[in-house]
């Protein structure tokens, strides 16, 4: 116990003297959250749109008006030929091109189907999916309007009412900010502890440590425990930014969130210390850490919904601590659910923590060769 405390105190002294790292612990959540919170918008609005209206009629203007009014299309450019539409999209000045044929108005009035061409730059699937969906939707609604007015019936036959729960306005920030908190914590924690053992190995201080009676588990604990404090500082800064800047409503219990966060911090620290035990140099540790970060970001459900992933990828996602923490933090912040719903996730994180620290302890030998 005294030896754990000795390592712990030493780590605190070293952290305190390392102004750069300390600054990063505070600044990272602040800057990153502000940056990503505003930048990451899964909902794409204001898509630059070019129009080539050969009909120049009240009907074409009416439909165009619906496109603009949706908020998804910014119809700012009008051109006079197909070539120009192509050029605008090729050059990237427009992502969407809308072309009305000369007989558009006649067809509407005659009751035959009036074709409108919508070109979409699908090289960015996020933008094109949205544009295609919205364009189809506008077409449907407008057709329905015209049909119902012609048939003189009061209402459309179906009336499907969707109620989006937890985030009724679909504010991306509500969904993303808690997740970014998780990313930040795992990134910092893994990064910090991944240097832990390997730095001492490179500097030669480990050789002196090895001749002392310290036990491997004491060293591992002494090297991870101090960082729990830093993890909590980070999550606090991140949540404060989320609440104050992005107005994320925290529906569940903050106390519960803080308690459950402990397991995520220890799992991340354990992962970091494991990296530190595997790597021979700080450079290798850095590379290994990156090897962990990318899957964490892409497969945990942070970027893409996990439901749509192929089975194998889905299971790989199960091996990432962040996956479980996203359930916890999104659950508590957005849904306001509590521990009883999250027990599985908590157990998983606990298992990760124990396994990572145990392997680290077993792998650490008080020998040079």
């Amino acid at each position: 116990m005294r030896r754990i405390m000795a390592v712990l105190y030493k780590e605190f002294l070293q952290i305190r003297r390392d102004r750069m790292t300390l600054g990063l612990i505070f600044m990272l959540p602040l800057v990153q959250l502000l940056l990503f919170g505003f930048a990451i918008q899964t909902e794409v609005k204001h898509i630059s749109t070019v129009v080539f209206d050969q009909s120049l009629s009240a009907d074409s203007r009416d439909l165009l008006e619906s496109f603009s009014a949706s908020g998804y299309f910014d119809v700012t450019m009008a051109v006079n030929s197909y070539d120009e539409v192509t050029r605008m999209i090729d050059s990237g000045k427009a992502k969407v091109g809308i072309v009305f044929p000369p007989d558009f108005s006649e067809n509407v009035r005659r009751g035959t189907s009036a074709a409108v061409q919508v070109f979409v730059d699908a090289s960015d699937s996020m933008v094109s999916n949205q544009a295609i969906a919205v364009a189809n939707f506008i077409g449907m609604i407008k057709s329905q309007e015209i049909l119902t007015s012609k048939l003189r019936v009061g209402a459309a036959p179906y009336d499907i009412r969707v109620r989006p729960w937890y985030n009724p306005d679909g504010v991306t920030a509500y969904y993303m900010v808690p997740a970014i908190c998780g990313i930040l914590v795992t990134l910092s924690m893994v990064m910090l502890t991944s240097m832990g053992i390997v730095r001492e190995r490179e500097r030669g201080t480990l050789e002196q440590l090895m001749v002392t009676p310290i036990k491997p588990y004491e060293l591992m604990l002494g090297k991870t425990l101090p960082y729990i404090v830093l993890g909590y500082i980070q999550i606090t800064v991140a949540l404060l930014v989320g609440v104050l800047v992005f107005h994320v409503p925290i529906k569940g219990s903050i106390l519960e969130l803080y308690i459950l966060t402990l397991f995520f911090i220890t799992a991340s620290l354990g992962l970091g210390i494991l990296v530190s035990n595997i790597a021979k140099t700080q450079m290798q540790a850095m590379q290994l850490a990156y090897f962990i970060f990318l899957p964490s970001i892409l497969l945990s459900g942070f970027m893409f919904p996990r439901d749509g992933m192929p089975k194998l990828i889905y299971y790989i996602g199960n091996l990432i601590p962040l996956t479980y923490y996203l359930d916890i933090i999104r659950g508590i912040v957005l849904k306001g659910i509590g521990f009883s719903y999250l027990i599985g996730q908590v157990i998983s994180l606990l298992v990760f923590s124990v396994v990572f620290l145990t392997i680290s302890t077993l792998k650490f030998k008080k020998k040079i060769a």
Binding site: R3, M5, D18, T205, V211, T212, P213, K366
Partner: protein, 302 residues
């Protein structure tokens, strides 16, 4: 105190240490002397239990060093590289290592003050270790190795890269510790330090070639050494003279090794004149420990 028997260790195909036998008695100062790559560090690390030997064994006070978890405080080790925390102060480093041996704060404090007084580091107690000079860093390492009051000190090239003045001071401290009863096993690449040890083990190519006191080593040296000051540029011409066993550059002169039983001085002088070699000075000198080592090392090579 330490008994090494048939100790061997190889790294891959490179043999680092071959079948070493060595016994270190209580209150001895024994120096492992030898060129870089001779295997000194590997040997000392095996004594401390940091490297598992391939064959043979080390017994420190009757125990294998990696089995003496609870008696780790009996052995103080100072690695070759500075192995303390540069971002901790002198006293924080001592406190840290002291607490790893479960010493209480008061004991550490008392001992630290005592040793820091001895090593003249007391004024630098609150300085970061990174900001100490090379010599002071070595003294701090020694202090940390001493905090448990070990019976045995294992020091790996403790004066390497340290200025001559600090080296002298460091040795004074070692003598004092020795007088108080400590057994000291150290390695050094400096031949002049070998003279300061009670016993010297000359190590070359992973083997201990000879173990004896420096005086005995010189005594047993069965050659005459001549010192030559001359304008010649290398020692090849000297080696070609019949009767010369070896010749090499030494400081600002050459040493010529010849058999003891002949009237060498005249013979060599004549040979030098014959070869038109300018002689500023030529005289017989007492062999230094380095002369002994040079001859030992060359025997090994042959």
């Amino acid at each position: 105190m330490i008994k090494i028997t048939e100790l061997s260790k190889a790294f891959g195909s490179i043999g680092a240490v071959h079948e070493i036998n060595l016994e270190i008695k209580k209150q001895e100062i024994i120096g492992i002397v030898g060129p870089d790559g001779a295997g000194k560090t590997t040997l000392l690390r095996m004594v401390c239990g940091l490297i598992t030997p391939d064959h043979g064994q080390v017994l420190v006070m009757g125990k294998a060093p990696d089995r003496m978890e609870e008696e780790k405080d009996k052995l103080g080790y100072m690695p070759q590289r500075f192995s303390l925390y540069g971002d901790l102060t002198v006293s924080e480093n001592i406190n840290f290592f002291g607490s790893l041996y479960s010493l209480d704060k008061k004991t550490i404090q008392d001992r630290a003050d005592e040793i820091l007084g001895l090593t003249n580091l007391i004024a630098f107690k609150n300085r970061l270790a990174d900001n100490l000079s090379g010599g002071m860093k070595q003294k701090l390492s020694l202090t940390c190795a001493l905090v448990t009051r070990p019976d045995i000190l294992v020091l790996d090239e403790p004066t390497y890269g340290v200025d001559p003045e600090s080296r002298k001071e460091f040795w004074k401290i070692l003598y004092r510790l020795n007088k108080e009863g400590k057994t000291i096993l150290l390695s050094t690449p400096y031949m002049d330090e070998a003279e300061l040890c009670m016993k010297v083990a000359f190590m070359d190519n992973g083997r201990i070639v000879s173990v004896d006191s420096p005086a005995n080593m010189r005594e047993k040296f069965s050659y005459t050494v001549l010192e030559l000051k001359s304008s010649i540029k290398n020692s090849h011409v000297l080696r070609d003279i019949p009767g010369v066993i070896d010749a090499y550059f030494y400081g600002d002169s050459y040493h010529i090794v010849t058999p003891k039983d002949r009237d060498n001085l005249q013979f060599i002088e004549a040979a030098l004149n014959e070869r038109n070699i300018e002689v500023f000075k030529l005289e017989e000198i007492a062999p230094s420990i380095e002369d002994v080592f040079v001859s030992l090392a060359e025997k090994e090579v042959v």
